[in-house]
């Protein structure tokens, strides 16, 4: 792919979002003008079209396929920290005008700041191409790929009794204009293959899930990445057949590289989002410049990783996607900001203003969040633990922002005894306090990896695609919620 010749996103977005409704950029400007007849500090108009195709295989056949189109606009006006928002699924002059009349009432009549000619924001260094994964594939190819996944799983082991897989291809086009005339657009591909297998042996059944995804075209699934991933999933399920009870109590825990980086996302990532810190509800509020993690720990939120699931050329407010150091060598350096919270906190936006759709308000959200590698080999880290737990794969996780208490589920884990992995253990919840856990990172591996591209982050009812990553890590003390006495 030649990424340097990205076509003009604005032209593509106009074609998709404006032309079919017979409106143009001037209508967008007029809508914002109409809002600005009141004493509003800030307004923006966001237009979006999402086309998605999804196919699923279950019980050895691709029985269901669906295609959806969702489009509309969201208009918001803010006065200081107060915001009014309206949306519609009809992108028409009438709906735009109705929305403007509604949201401007957040502020009194008065100023009539007219906006200038839109200045365009061109994406100079895209993190993904404008390819349309739906157009690049065909129904037959989608079905064939899913059937292939089933064969990989069945061929991997005869104990596989059930395979289900879902292929999702998404093409999203957005355009956003701000009250001061700034105009930006983005074209975002997203592909995902999710796989679940069930294995059975002597009446005992176990399951494992996984898959691949990213901001890429259909070719993301080519080469041997997919068979390798399916084999890994089957092996995880087979390993879990042998699992013993998980221990109960505080223990040293080693987290593998990649998806277990969810720990960082939960233990600190949400706590570094601007809104929680502006309102003082984060456990990290007013800790800027302080040592919040063990030295040697450096964590970035980076929207510019090529083809990663959380990458953004521009965020949903038109800010360029960026690489932001959250923690540098243990010290808290930056919060993640959207426009509103940056403005109120007098900080600069960091390109983290994201929204689930036109029907939702933007908030500070993570993109791809990961820890920089350290010096230890993963084997060395495991070998350093006398008795503890090695987490190879996780399920889901969550955090309580005000206390910093986070938890996540293990999906594949082992007991470590005398520096060796001795037995797989059953799924258990693991919990700790974010600030304490960050200080208890005592070894950082040299094997940084991002997750496989399946992650979804939920906040205040809004879901957005993200990515997480880390090298192998050792945490001296984490509470493991097993059933063993």
């Amino acid at each position: 792919m030649n990424e340097t010749n990205a076509p003009d996103n604005l032209a593509l977005a106009s074609q998709k979002l404006l032309v079919p409704s017979g409106i143009d950029v001037n209508d967008l400007r007029k809508t914002l003008d109409q809002v600005m007849t009141h004493q509003v500090d800030f307004a923006d108009l966001y237009l979006q079209s999402i086309r998605r195709e999804s196919w699923s295989l279950e019980n050895s056949q691709v029985k269901a396929g669906s295609f959806s189109v969702d489009q509309g606009f969201g208009l918001r006006a803010s006065e200081l920290d107060q915001t009014a928002f309206a949306y519609s699924q009809q992108i028409t002059r009438k709906r735009l005008s109705n929305a403007a009349a509604s949201v401007r009432s957040i502020a009194g009549k008065g100023s009539s700041a007219r906006i200038g000619m839109p200045q365009q924001r061109i994406i100079t260094c895209p993190s993904y191409g404008t390819h349309d994964p739906l157009a690049a594939s065909s129904a037959a190819a989608n079905v064939a790929l899913l059937e292939q996944v089933e064969r990989y799983a069945r061929n991997a082991d005869p104990r596989v009794t059930h395979v289900s897989a879902t292929l999702e291809l998404t093409h999203e086009v957005i355009m956003v204009m701000r009250h001061d005339g700034r105009l930006a657009a983005d074209v975002r591909p997203l592909v995902l293959m999710f796989v679940r297998v069930i294995v059975q042996q002597n009446g005992k059944r176990e399951t494992a899930t996984g898959g691949l995804g990213g901001r890429n075209g259909f070719w993301h699934f080519e080469a041997d990445k997919l068979p390798n991933e399916v084999t890994r999933i089957v092996n995880s399920a087979l390993t879990n057949l042998e699992a013993v009870q998980a221990p109960s109590g505080e223990l040293p825990v080693v987290l593998a590289s990649g998806w277990p980086g969810m720990l960082l996302h939960e233990a600190m990532g949400h706590g570094f989002e601007g809104d929680f810190n502006r309102m003082g509800s984060s456990v990290y509020s007013s800790k800027m410049g302080e040592a919040v993690a063990a030295s040697g720990v450096t964590i970035y939120d980076d929207a510019t990783v090529q083809g990663a699931r959380g990458s953004l050329n521009i965020d949903d407010e038109g800010e360029p996607g960026q690489r932001t150091a959250l923690i540098e060598n243990g010290v808290l350096r930056n919060y993640m900001q959207d426009d509103l919270n940056a403005r109120l906190m007098k900080q600069r936006p960091t390109g983290n203003g994201r929204r689930q759709s036109y029907a939702h308000l933007p908030m500070p959200r993570m993109t791809n969040t990961f820890m920089e590698p350290g010096k230890y080999a993963p084997e060395e880290i495991i070998a350093s633990v006398k008795r503890g737990v090695y987490l190879e794969d996780l399920g889901s996780g969550e955090v309580d922002i005000v206390s910093g208490q986070f938890c996540f589920q293990s999906a594949l884990a082992w007991l470590i005894e005398d520096g060796k992995l001795t037995a797989p253990i059953r799924g258990a919840t693991l919990t700790g306090s974010g600030p304490e856990t960050l200080r208890q990172i005592s070894m950082v591996g040299n094997d940084l990896r991002l997750d496989r591209g399946l992650a979804v982050c939920g906040k205040a009812g809004q879901r957005v695609p993200v990515s997480v990553g880390q090298p192998t890590l050792k945490i001296d003390n984490l509470l493991v919620g097993g059933t063993a006495r």
């Binding site: 959806s68 928002f85 109960s248 938890c407 919620g481 097993g482």
Partner: protein, 446 residues
Amino acid sequence: MSFTFEQARLAAVAEQLLGLAKKAGATDAKVQLSTGQGLSINMRQGRLRARREEAHNSVNLTVYRGQCQGSTQSTDFSNTSLAEMVKAACAIATHTAADPCAGLADAELMCRAPQNLQIYHPWDVTTEQAQIIAQRIEAGLSDLGGNVESDSATVGAFQMHSFLANSHGFARGYAQSRHSLGATALAGSGNSRHLGYWSSQARSSELLESPEQVGTKAGKKALGYLNDRPLQTGRYRVLFDPHMAIGLLGDIVAGTSGRALFTQSSYLRDRVGTQIMADHLSLREDPFVLGGMASVPFDDDGICGQQRAVVKNGTLQSYFLSTYAGRRLGMASTGNASGPYNLSLSSEHTRADDDFNAMLARLGDGLLVTQLNGEGTQLLNGNYSRTAKGFWVENGVIVHPVSGITIAGNLNDMLCDVIAVGSDIHTQGSFSSGSMLISKMQIGGR
């Protein structure tokens, strides 16, 4: 207040789509439409953080070419969009494999006389009125003193029309409303801070709890967690408060629902007729509770639900099945294609005076669980492991709050080990339950 589209327009769109689908070669088709409208506000300490106006439409088409199916969803009701939907769905149906279980529900099963369940009570609340209600929520909280503050007060009003039509000639719609008040309170300072939540949902705004009460309850929850102390790892008797007991009912529903069963991913597969809970427990479903949050006249297949015992004296009687899931399992639909209806758990041992304090007394020494976090229920094998918050109880009296602990067991064992259910019944969404006393579980702590 007005909908983007009225009921008559939904019916017309449905008819148009069914006609187009037939013309395009579909042997059968089904259309689901909805149009919704609402207002929600989120206040924080007197400031209007967000006011959001809802206006949502959706149209969902499923076509069958023999036993092959394809579906499309859209938010656009224009003629061009409807024509594209039919084309796309039919194209998909030429590539999907023939599925003997696919297809509409049998015509004779269609709901003939939908009941009026009194689930539509539109609330035409203005922003100004909603703001006053949110201020009252915050007022209920500020009466509790300086150690707790409002983190958010929310007011939501939502109403929608739904319409379902299929090529059997079924074409019916209904309207429903959902309104809510919510509060999040933040108590404490420095390194010891806790959130407390409370919410009230109802079909009619008149049935919502008073705003002050919602605020006060959230505030008291948050304050209750202050000065928490660690708990030593061990096995303890456990009392789930009604909210947490409802969470367990959610797990049971997930494990007895069609998809989990036919994909072989639930430990409750093939368990009809066997004991899945203590023998004094029953779980009843009622789709027809007037004004019930989970009352609707028919499901997404056009079939009515039933008043029934899902679990009777601890024995599983039946599942939650759509038409499709039923065919996969060789069983009849239970009218649950849209999920469970109103469900209530009861124990034949419960006496009227088994209120919350009586349940604490029955717990004696042990853990009262009031919050659970993490998706720690594995339906495949019943493994249960979650993070918990609650209170340490001695001699039936709350001694101190506990947080940052884990609770683990197996769902099957937990449900069979239920000793008692309280008369302190709480209803949240589809579920009603009193607090639930369980014999010992493994608690992870210090």
